[in-house]
């Protein structure tokens, strides 16, 4: 009876200790970047891209999902969703520009809910790194890809599968540390 009581009295401490250990694990992993409670993930990762066929945004012509996969046969393509009213899109424009100049990764863009003139102005102002640009006026492609904000970036491999995804703008560090390794893996 004594042992049972002692065990019972230790239970709250055990529960608190387990909780504390878990929180410590969460905090340290948050600092390393391996744990992000705000990242809700995208179940489309590892799945085939949805079908779509979008009109173009000047100066580029639009594209369909079939064309995207066809172009991905030679190398993985970076699919970038953007909008003219989105501030982080402007901040990642520099990185995308650099990427395009380096060559090696074609960038195709989809403008989300943007009037064509506004997108054109955005491209004028921040540069146009896109090989092709589609205009998603209704937002259907946005939803079918599982986006909930702009910008978001996807790497599509030759099988038409989403090999990598980030819900946020690209930065030089992200490209170097996460995107390039993902592209290398996708090529293999």
């Amino acid at each position: 009876m004594i042992a049972r009581r002692r065990l019972m009295l230790l239970a709250p401490l055990a529960v608190a200790a387990a909780g504390g250990a878990a929180f410590w694990a969460m905090l340290t992993r948050m600092q390393d970047g391996k744990f992000d409670p705000h990242d809700i993930g995208n179940p489309m990762l590892g799945k085939h891209i949805p079908d779509f066929d979008l009109p173009g945004v000047a100066p580029s012509q639009g594209f369909s999902s079939k064309e995207l996969i066809a172009a991905a046969q030679t190398q993985p393509i970076l699919l970038n969703f953007f909008a003219s009213w989105c501030i982080p899109c402007a901040s990642e424009a520099g990185t995308l520009d650099e990427l395009q100049k380096l060559g090696g990764v074609p960038i195709w863009g989809i403008a989300y809910k943007d009037a064509p003139e506004k997108s054109a102005k955005f491209l004028d102002q921040y540069g146009n790194p896109y090989a092709r640009i589609g205009a998603d006026m209704s937002g259907d492609v946005f939803i079918n890809f599982g986006l909930y904000g702009v910008p978001e970036n996807f790497v599509i491999n030759r099988k038409g599968i989403i090999a990598w995804h980030i819900a946020g703008p690209l930065s030089d560090d992200l490209v170097e540390q996460q995107m390039m390794p993902a592209i290398a893996k996708a090529k293999a």
């Binding site: 009295l9 709250p12 905090l27 409670p37």
Partner: protein, 652 residues
């Protein structure tokens, strides 16, 4: 200059807190009278230093001293004075300072009102409070210091989030924190008792008022937050089971259990271990709640955006305080010898059931809040838990609590029978069933059930009062006499339990709201909830730091004009943010609720609600707090140990 003094005062308070902790615990351990006597002075000193520090921060904000980074980030010249003052605690650093200040106030109050406490107990309690303060103030000084400065100072600050510029939200943190932090005193008493190795009835008599006061404040704080969400956010809701909201609900649930459990310690010297554990648990939940919402672990829009490095410090602090006290509990709890034996069917038994049910509800809330981060950590799954889960799980547990709330007080101590309960409360059950039945004809099952439960609670809570005053069974004069002699705590309990019923009725009523979303141009009229709503005009209305569009809506009932409502949409230029100022008209039985949305092609989108019984949600909470406060006035709770009469000389 003044911010530097504020920083110094903060450091001084931290040093005093450490001293208080060491001297209090060591003095009590060694039974050193001088050391024990020194502790209250240190506590009061700490309080004065903290008051000075907080005053300095308020001064910096009011005097627009933008060299203080905290003021520059959260204030602006154009901000109204009230919000300059209340904005000091509307950000992370300021709110930590507020936490520390209230902790200091608690220590000060124990020093002043605790003169009748045995000196060892008082020294230990102050020691524990000092230790907790010291940890918190150290955290404040090192990682969340509001007095950091920047040169050259900017010309104007960044202004405060417009959502926070609101009287309700200005006072929500202090009241809420007085609840959270107030539970530090029962916690300190619990740890002190474990250190001493004994608990007696006097301890229960000390803990109960402190727990009750904190509980009242916490109830008001939560209600205020919920009310604010209702009138400010414009979606007609008031509780979303959001992780930050849940973080305030958890200590409330265990705090309620504590308030009830301490009664048993006081009256019957029983349930000591439950009470000590609840006291430790409630404060632990307050602390953990504070940690969680600032750590970034919880995915919530309410959560303060903070980096995990701060989280590690608080986690260490939590480990010490919570881990230490629970370890002490595991080791020393067997020393607490219980006095009274009781049968399962008895008031003590009912209170044990109450403890179990409330703690289970708390466990459900904890599980729902913590599952998303845990599922992510352990299984890599991204899920979220929202209102549907909580409604499903909390309701079945709440129903037995409601039943027990009304009839529990009817049970005698030590040993009772169930039949007398039926005898004394059958009429309340009948009325409740009638109410529920009548309602079921006009509405869905769940609200009807809720109305029945509310009726049961409101009427049944007074069953004990009716019994004790022999109402309707003895001549009126007798009943009145008995009523005058009734302990105030009995009335307080009845009122508080009935208040819960009022809240339940409010929740049920609001779930039956009628609402319509319309696109209106000036002159259009709509029928919503039995009232006529006419849009009379759309105008501009500038404010101190915003531009606004105002809609003038007249509401008529059967052709009679009832109210002129003016919902606004405010555009805050500095922060590029828009908030809506909801227009609410209440007659305490129903709320008329109007929100102005987008305007397009000369038409405005309006959201019009009629919310029956909505005000009862918060009225009920007020009634609960009032009942609790009334209980405090009970003469029996006045904690003075009787002074010893001079010993008469013994006969030879």
């Amino acid at each position: 200059m003044i911010p530097e003094l504020g920083n110094f005062a903060l450091a001084l308070a931290c040093a005093l807190a450490f001293a208080q902790a060491v001297i209090g615990i060591w003095g009590a351990h060694r039974r050193d009278v001088r050391l024990m006597a020194a502790t209250p002075g240190l506590a009061v000193g700490q309080l004065l230093a903290l008051a000075a520090s907080a005053g300095a921060l308020v001064w910096a904000s009011v005097s627009n001293d933008f060299s203080v980074i905290n003021v520059a980030e959260n204030s602006a010249i154009a901000k109204p004075l009230l919000y300059k003052i209340s904005g000091t605690w509307g950000n992370h650093e300021g709110s930590i300072l507020l936490w520390g200040l209230i902790l200091g106030i608690c220590g000060g109050l124990v020093s002043v009102f605790g003169r009748n406490l045995p000196s060892a107990l008082r020294a230990r309690v102050l020691g524990v409070l000092g230790g907790t303060s010291a940890g918190f103030l150290l955290f404040c000084l090192t990682t969340s210091n509001p007095f950091f400065r920047d040169f050259p100072p900017p010309v104007d600050g960044r202004g405060m989030n417009p959502l926070l510029q609101d009287p309700g939200l200005a006072f929500h943190p202090p009241i809420l924190y007085m609840g959270y932090v107030g539970f530090a005193v029962p916690f300190a008493f619990a740890v002190a008792a474990l250190l001493e190795g004994r608990i007696d009835a006097a301890w229960g008599r000390w803990v109960r008022p402190w727990a009750l006061v904190s509980w009242c404040f916490l109830t008001c704080g939560i209600a205020l937050g919920s009310w604010w969400a209702y009138y400010e956010l414009g979606w007609g809701g008031y509780w979303f089971w959001d992780p930050v909201e849940n973080a305030s609900l958890m200590p409330w649930l265990t705090g309620t259990a504590l308030v009830h459990s301490s009664i048993v310690v006081e009256k019957r010297e029983s349930l000591k271990i439950w009470t000590v554990l609840l006291a430790i648990g409630t404060f632990s939940l307050s602390l953990s709640g504070t940690f969680l919402v600032r750590s970034g672990i919880l995915n919530s829009v309410h959560a303060f955006a903070n980096d995990p490095a701060r989280g590690v410090f608080i986690l260490a602090l939590l480990g010490l305080v919570i881990g230490g006290s629970l370890l002490l509990f595991a080791l020393r709890a067997p020393l607490l010898r219980s006095g009274g034996i009781f049968a399962p069917v008895s008031r003590e038994g009912a209170l044990v059931l109450n403890n179990i049910l409330l703690c289970s509800i708390c466990a459900v809330v904890i599980a729902g809040t913590m599952t998303p981060p845990f599922a992510d950590l352990l299984f890599g799954q991204k899920i979220s838990v929202g209102a549907p889960y909580f409604n499903l799980t909390v309701l079945p547990l709440a129903i037995p609590v409601f039943i027990a709330m009304a009839v529990g007080p009817l049970l005698p101590w030590k040993r009772g029978r169930l039949w007398p309960l039926v005898e004394h409360a059958w009429w309340a059950a009948l009325i409740a069933a009638l109410v529920g039945g009548v309602c079921a004809f006009g509405m869905k099952l769940l609200p009807a059930l809720a109305f029945g439960a509310a009726a049961w609670l409101i009427i049944g809570s007074f069953a004990e009062v009716f019994e004790r005053t022999l109402l309707f069974r003895a001549p009126v004069a007798n009943s009145v006499r008995r009523a005058r002699g009734l302990p105030v705590a009995v009335l307080g309990a009845a009122i508080a339990h009935a208040g819960m019923g009022v809240t339940v009725a409010g929740i049920a009523g609001t779930s039956l709201d009628s609402n319509k979303i319309v696109e209106a141009k000036v002159g259009d009229s709509f029928s919503v909830g039995g009232y006529q709503w006419i849009l009379l005009g759309l105008d501009d209305a500038p404010g101190p730091n915003y531009r606004a569009r105002v809609a003038s809506i007249e509401v008529l009932k059967d052709g009679r004009p009832l109210a002129m409502m003016k919902p606004e949409r405010r555009m805050f230029t500095l922060q590029q943010q828009t908030t809506s100022d909801v227009a609410i008209r209440t007659n305490l039985f129903r709320d008329l609720y109007a929100v102005l949305g987008d305007e397009r092609d000369g038409k405005a989108v309006l959201r019009l609600h009629v919310n029956p019984l909505a005000p009862w949600i918060w009225l009920g909470a007020l009634i609960m707090a009032a009942g609790g406060a009334l209980s405090l006035a009970d003469r029996r709770l006045r904690v003075g140990a009787p002074s010893r009469a001079p010993k008469a000389a013994l006969p030879a």
